[in-house]
Symmetry: C2
Subunit: 449 residues, 2 copies
């Protein structure tokens, strides 16, 4: 049995796997052990798609081939305690694994529903557990009435997927005025809500659920305005909470304000050169404000994992802090955001200037499959630098938002983006005359003058 | 009849239309006249798609609504002469149009085939002319054997489109070892050629056509190795030549080395504060070398048009020079390039370091519609700065290349790109673990150390 490695990684999801692969690339001679609880690891962002498009949790796995090809030793066991002095990880299975460098990537757990009755059968949260999700899928398949609590990304995606190929009633209950409101300005939320409605999803906003009703099994939910909704299945998607249990009981500093492992820009935990944390369990700091941020994204987790791996045996580089690039798709509509929305920027205290543009996703618009796209860019009025952007459109919106992210990371101004050198092609992009990012930036630049 | 405007623009394609719209945005009170030869303007990059996907030149038009909505006066007439002293444009139709500021956007014309027999019937080049293209389409529809001379973007796209819904033989004859070789490194050329072959297109490389045979009408072509190929239709796509006739006869300086209107970084012609040129007729300067470049792209044309418009009444900003971002799609495969290929970079004199990555376009790869994507990035060895990138994949490659373009425009290093903050979503992008640009940059960064 393996009992020593140069690098031990705890956690097998996006952060852990990326840290392992990046470590292997950088240090070909180091022995790497990845300790994880799961025999097979789910693609975290793919979980909603189990319920419609994929049809099974087994079709939503991160392939272990990635780890095997990179000569990563996988230990399936639960890390119970880290002994920092002896540099050993103790596992539930009784293993003691010595490390030279340790990366903690224990992720996050779904928030439990703080609602009376949430212990009833058929009330689910989004556990990253194959058996749990298979049972949830079986119940969703049988359900006539499904209530989803929380209209964020996961709630909206679950709603869309739970409608697929089923004759059922799916209702989202959202406490804010709009679904997806924490990530988008109102106009994009409304576009997403319209698409959800078109797909047959009912949306109730400005309401919370005060009680889950039923005997052993859920039968209905009661809203804050007193209405009751029938429910055979309730899906709670109200957020996640960093899983810091192992770190905490091992004496690693957890910032109580964030309930996250405190790390520096090298992803090192406080007072250690040998222990790193990355992914959802590690604190996120906003690129804009320098304050803690609730940006628990797989993409951010993997970036932190690469930074941690690079810095294992001597600092190589500091991370960028967290920008936040969000994407989703409802029906055929992709909506995506990077950086600050207009609302968020104003809340931060920025004076903002907005540029917007609409186009068709192919040109001429008569090409088959062409669909409308919309871009909104947010700039700081005092210096013209881009703060954020939002996009709606077809699947290419998923990379268009990354163009915007590149602009943000490079602190580009409206002026510079208005002469951005893009490539365009009839079948792949908007026309160069109408190219959305450039036109939105030009509009903002002219307003700024 | 209108005979005076604050701004007169000559040319109605991508550069002219963009200059007009940008001018309107910046100077709401200025009167703008756009003079163009064509009653209706074709989308230049859309021309190949007339021959398959669209089925008619009339489905490939730039909508005049854009101009009307922006209160641009369109004069359909041919500019014959510019009188710089009197600041008047004379037209073939006998109009004299006075200007305060003039923008020349006369574009480019297809190169004639320098081959004996090219005057025969059914030997075509790519004229931006609706009647010409309709006749060409009619002949393509009747043809059994089509030979395309030149395997660049237009040749490859024509070949793909001419096969669609037709039982014919389409052969590309390319003088270089590979199709698309001026824009891509070999591995991407080979991928495109394989896709063309899969679509039923025959490719003959390392050969020129020495004679076009037939009586009145083409019947065959003779290759440089002596072989003859049957041909009912020959399509020449060997490049374009800036249309500088008007500028030249009006005494505007044409650089004989480039056969282009010489302009400064403000898009002003030499020795004038009042005359600008943009688009294919204006000189292109490489962002990398500072030397003239043959980057006649609609996207570059529109960037120059925006720069020209911004600088009309006082310099606002200098253009960026030409990076060159190319995209195409063959069958379902999009292939795209930005900046320098490895071959070009080495020819320039760079020592290069390459990073490559492959992924699937959705994650998990089991999602319907997921397809392989491939990214190659080229970095300068001496400073780690990105010089170029190439992508193959699905339609999202068209924006993925623009992410790379943003990295190039901001002189990002392999180090910086390896911690790029991208958004990823199962339905829209590669997995964050495998995200192509980041993984390619990480690979290069490690090699650089």
């Amino acid at each position: 049995m393996l009992n020593r490695a140069d690098v031990v990684i705890i956690g097998g999801s996006a952060a852990g796997a990326t840290a392992a692969i990046s470590c292997r690339r950088r240090y070909p001679d180091k022995k790497v052990i990845l300790v994880r609880k799961e025999e097979q690891v789910l693609v975290p962002c793919g979980i909603p798609y189990i319920f419609g498009t994929l049809g099974s949790p087994m079709k939503n796995l991160i392939p272990d081939k990635l780890l095997h090809d990179n000569d990563i030793n996988v230990v399936v066991d639960t890390a119970q305690q880290i002994n920092k002095e002896r540099k050993v990880v103790h596992t539930d299975g009784g293993q003691d694994i010595e490390y030279d460098k340790l990366i903690i990537a224990t992720g996050a757990n779904p928030l439990a529903l703080p609602i009376p009755g949430s212990e009833k059968e058929n009330v689910f949260v989004i556990e990253k557990d194959i058996a749990y999700l298979q049972n949830m899928l079986d119940e969703v398949n049988k359900a006539k009435d499904i209530v989803i609590i929380g209209g964020g990304f996961i709630g909206a995606e679950f709603a869309d997927e739970c409608k697929k190929n089923r004759d059922n009633n799916v209702t989202i209950v959202e406490r804010l005025p709009h679904c997806l409101q924490l990530a988008f300005d109102d106009e994009f939320c409304i576009e997403a809500e319209k698409m959800l409605n078109d797909r047959g999803v009912k949306i109730i906003t400005n309401q919370t659920i005060v009680e889950i009703l039923g005997d052993k099994k859920v039968s209905a939910v009661r809203l804050s305005d007193g209405r009751e909704l029938r429910a055979d299945v309730v899906i709670g998607s109200i957020g996640v909470r960093p899983d810091v249990e192992l770190a905490e009981k091992s004496g690693i500093f957890i910032n109580p304000a964030t309930n996250s492992v405190e790390v520096d820009r090298y992803q090192r935990v406080i007072n250690s050169q040998d222990i790193f944390a990355c992914g959802d369990c590690a604190v996120k700091i906003s690129y804009f404000s320098g304050r803690p941020s609730k940006t628990w994204l797989a993409s951010v987790a993997t970036e932190e994992a690469r930074v941690a791996a690079a810095n294992l045996f001597g600092v190589c580089y500091a991370g960028f802090w967290t920008l936040g690039v969000f994407s989703t798709q409802i029906g055929e509509l992709a909506i995506c955001a990077a950086g600050l929305t207009e609302r968020q920027a104003n809340q931060e205290g920025y004076n903002t200037v907005i540029g917007s543009a609409k186009a068709t996703s192919k040109h001429p618009g008569s090409l088959p499959g062409s669909s409308p796209t919309s871009v909104k860019l947010v700039f700081s009025k005092c210096n013209g630098i881009i703060l954020g952007g939002e996009v709606s459109g077809d699947t290419c919106a998923g990379e268009l938002i990354n163009v915007i992210s590149a602009c943000i990371q490079n602190r580009m101004t409206a002026c510079a983006i208005s002469t951005f050198q893009m490539g365009t092609h009839p079948m792949l992009c908007a026309s160069p005359i109408a190219y959305e990012i450039v036109n939105a930036a030009e509009e903002a630049f002219i307003k700024l003058k």
